[in-house]
């Protein structure tokens, strides 16, 4: 399957070409190039997926294929970075997800971004992102993943900061990059530790189940915790950063400063699930060598999910609501992985998580693109500036509704199936976990419909321009993604992606399904009551629970904590004193030595008095003293 290399190379070429020509070409040309390239690789990915899933199954297990692998940099004889392509069920699935969403976003952007300055730059960055993201998922070794992980981060930085004259966008981009960079430090150290003990980066070796690789980790521990836990925990920190897990989630809401299609692509569908993908990729290690870390991941995921869902209920910026919703949903995926075991029925959480990743990518992209369509129409992100848009934007309305139903977990939309699998895995793990996650599912339904009704129903806001339906280029992706969202639930996902790459038949757990659907329906009803028409309920609730409401609106002050740490502690209490120390202690010491010499020089000038007799006196004393010293010693 050598042609898969093209999937990587084409977007890179597209980036280079678009980046170098810069503003020499007409914007349309650039957009077309980008989109066509994406179209080609999407087709290639689909073909690859078809070929892989239909032809490369041996004894019921999908094989791992490495069609391409070159040594890029050699550290030691055993540690070398290869760049290559690894095809296995999850990477192939990711190829499909990424190319699809990316393709849709490219098309959508032709309409959405057409009037922006720097259109070529935008497409160049999109190509760069696609390239990096694809490189990430097909990585054959953990270090390749890290490389592309960083590249993804920087493309995200560039795209968030696309409106670079807008200070908030610049700040958001910086924040996103630095927070994820900080998390990547964990990832890097994790890789350091892991590779130190296993002497390899290669996923093939690491996940082969060969225990000899891990021989040296046995009994090795640092500060009472086994080295594998350290390694895997640190690697998870990297994943947590990219996937906006608590407490590293702060960058994601701000990242909504970027263009909306970017949010759809990067901050909803693809990049933010890289953390999930990372854990999934190393899942065999987590399960075998450090189940406690895996459980930790589950708890972190659950907490983040709850936390984000609560915040999502009170946000008024529609993109932020979606951002928190994304965080919450990724939490679901993390929980799915965290509660999973390996293989067969044990591994249902893994499968469910991947499934949810897939469906979520589609419907969340849809939601974002829909939101983009709305924003395009009303030129604002604020809910209060919207309302009653269903009349003006029918397609957007319907597709958005479909997506909301999917995320709320209403059958037969795709979200129902994937979420249900996660919930049942949770219940198997522990009833409390199941209950929590079900509750969060309910919250999800509530805030999504709050969003939906606030946008499309409710009181109509006075618009300066009459809102209108989006152009074809924007509508097409909406329709396409809506279709996928409706149908994706019926994919027999267990046949394709499971933790042990063997076949697994999904069967719905009807108790769990019923409960979750009931709760979802209740939540939706509540949302209908509160937000379909203007009502006083939300306000009353807000005043009743003013503390909670205020805290949630302010995202529980996590940003403030960060600002405190960065501005007050690092900037003012470390960096500033260090800079001061450098100038006034170290440098001053050096200057002080010079100053002292000068001082001495001035002080002893009296010796050179100009008086011959004094000279002779010193002369004589010198003679006598030297004689005495030599004679005595």
């Amino acid at each position: 399957m050598q042609y898969t290399l093209l999937i990587l190379v084409l977007p890179l070429l597209s980036f280079i070409v678009l980046g170098l020509v810069d503003s020499k070409w007409k914007p349309k040309v650039a957009g077309t190039i980008g989109t066509v390239v994406l179209g080609i690789i999407t087709a290639l990915s689909y073909f690859a997926a078809w070929e892989y899933f239909s032809m490369h199954r041996i004894a019921g297990v999908y094989e791992k294929i490495i069609p391409f692998n070159i040594e890029w940099l050699r550290f030691t004889d055993y540690l070398h970075i290869n760049l290559g392509i690894l095809l296995d069920p999850i990477s192939v699935m990711m190829l499909v997800v990424i190319t699809t969403v990316s393709f849709m976003v490219n098309i959508y952007s032709l309409g959405y971004m057409v009037n922006e300055k720097g259109f070529e730059r935008y497409y160049a960055f999109l190509s760069l992102f696609t390239f990096s993201m694809l490189g990430l998922v097909v990585a054959t070794n953990i270090f390749q993943m890290y490389i592309f992980w960083e590249l993804v981060g920087v493309s995200s930085y560039l795209l968030i900061g696309f409106y670079y004259t807008k200070p908030s966008a610049v700040a958001a981009a910086k924040k996103a990059f630095i927070v994820t960079r900080f998390a990547d430090l964990g990832f890097l150290i994790g890789i350091l530790v892991l590779s130190f003990y296993t002497k390899t980066f290669d996923f093939g070796i690491l996940t082969s189940g060969d225990t000899s690789v891990f021989a040296s980790t046995v009994g090795a521990s640092f500060m009472g915790i086994s080295v594998m836990s350290w390694a895997l925990g640190l690697i998870f920190i990297g994943g947590a950063g990219k996937s906006a897990m608590f407490p590293l989630q702060i960058w994601l809401p701000d990242a909504m400063e970027g263009p909306t299609p970017v949010s759809a692509l990067i901050h909803a569908a693809t990049m933010v699930v890289a953390g999930v993908f990372l854990v999934a990729r190393l899942f065999p290690l987590y399960v075998v060598y450090s189940p406690e870390v895996l459980h930790g991941i589950a708890y972190v995921g659950a907490f983040t999910s709850l936390f984000a869902a609560i915040i999502a209920c009170v946000q008024t910026d529609i993109k932020r609501v979606l951002a928190f919703s994304t965080i919450s949903q990724i939490g679901f995926m993390m929980v799915g992985l965290g509660v999973s075991g390996n293989g067969g029925h044990e591994g249902v959480g893994y499968m469910a998580s991947m499934f949810h990743l897939f469906t979520h990518a589609m419907f969340k992209a849809l939601l974002f693109l829909g939101a983009g369509s709305v924003i395009h129409a009303v030129r604002s992100n604020e809910m209060s500036h919207m309302g009653g848009l269903r009349k003006y934007m029918p397609i957007t309305n319907i597709t958005f509704l479909i997506a909301c139903l999917a995320i709320a977990g209403i059958p037969p939309f795709s979200g129902f199936f994937s979420k249900d699998e996660i919930l049942s895995a949770c219940y198997e793990f522990s009833p409390y976990m199941g209950a929590t996650m079900t509750f969060i599912a309910g919250l999800t339904a509530f805030y999504m419909f709050r969003l939906y009704f606030n946008i499309f129903w409710g009181k109509e806001h006075k618009h300066q321009h009459t809102p209108h339906e989006s152009p074809f280029a924007m509508a097409l992706p909406l329709v396409f993604l809506a279709t996928v969202t409706v149908l994706a639930g019926w994919i027999p996902f267990g046949h394709f992606v499971t933790s042990d790459r063997a076949n697994y038949d999904i069967h719905l757990d009807f108790t769990v399904a019923t409960i979750s659907v009931l709760i979802a329906v209740c939540s939706i009803t509540l949302a209908i009551i509160m937000y379909r028409k203007e009502s006083k309920v939300p306000k009353r609730l807000a005043t009743t629970f003013s503390g909670l409401h205020k805290a949630a609106t302010n995202r529980f002050y996590i940003d403030e904590v960060y600002i405190f740490i960065t501005k007050k502690i690092i900037f003012n209490n470390i960096s500033l004193p260090l800079a001061w120390f450098d100038r006034h202690v170290i440098d001053a010491t050096m200057n002080g030595m010079a100053g002292t010499t000068q001082w001495v020089s001035v002080k002893i000038k009296g010796f050179q008095s100009g008086q011959v007799q004094q000279y002779a006196y010193v002369f004589l004393l010198g003679t006598l003293i030297i004689t005495a010293l030599v004679l005595i010693f």
């Binding site: 007799q613 006196y617 004589l620 004393l621 006598l624 004689t627 005495a628 004679l631």
Partner: protein
Amino acid sequence: MAQQIIFFVLAAIIAIFSILAVTAKQIIRSATYLLFVLLATAGLYLLLGYNYLFAVQIAVYAGGVMVLFIFAILLTNRPGENVKTELAVRRVAAGATALVGLAFCGHVIYWNIKKVSELAVQADITPQQLGHSMLGTDKYQYLLPFEVISILLLACIVGAIMIARKR
């Protein structure tokens, strides 16, 4: 015995007038005391049997150097004016240093010198001998220094005249 007495007289003259020479208030007195010291030194040379040296000492110092001094003093001094000494502090410091130096050197010399008190018998140094060794080129003969010092004398004369003459 006579030798001893002469020696002590000379020694006393030297010691006393040396000190007087460097402490006298008037410079002309100082010069006179110096003359006494130089003459007494010449006496010591005679005592040791170096007649030639005695003659040179008297000729050069008393005849030459002292004349120079007197001229210089007369040229530069208004008569009767006292020569100032340095501040007391410096005098004390100089005196103390000189005394310390004296003690120190005296100590070292006294304990390390070969103690001889008998003069070896020595024949008189005849003018012939002197002439020989002054104009010889072997070891212990001094033609070369003699020639070189003539250059020095010439240079000094040239230099001194250059400095001292008008224009």
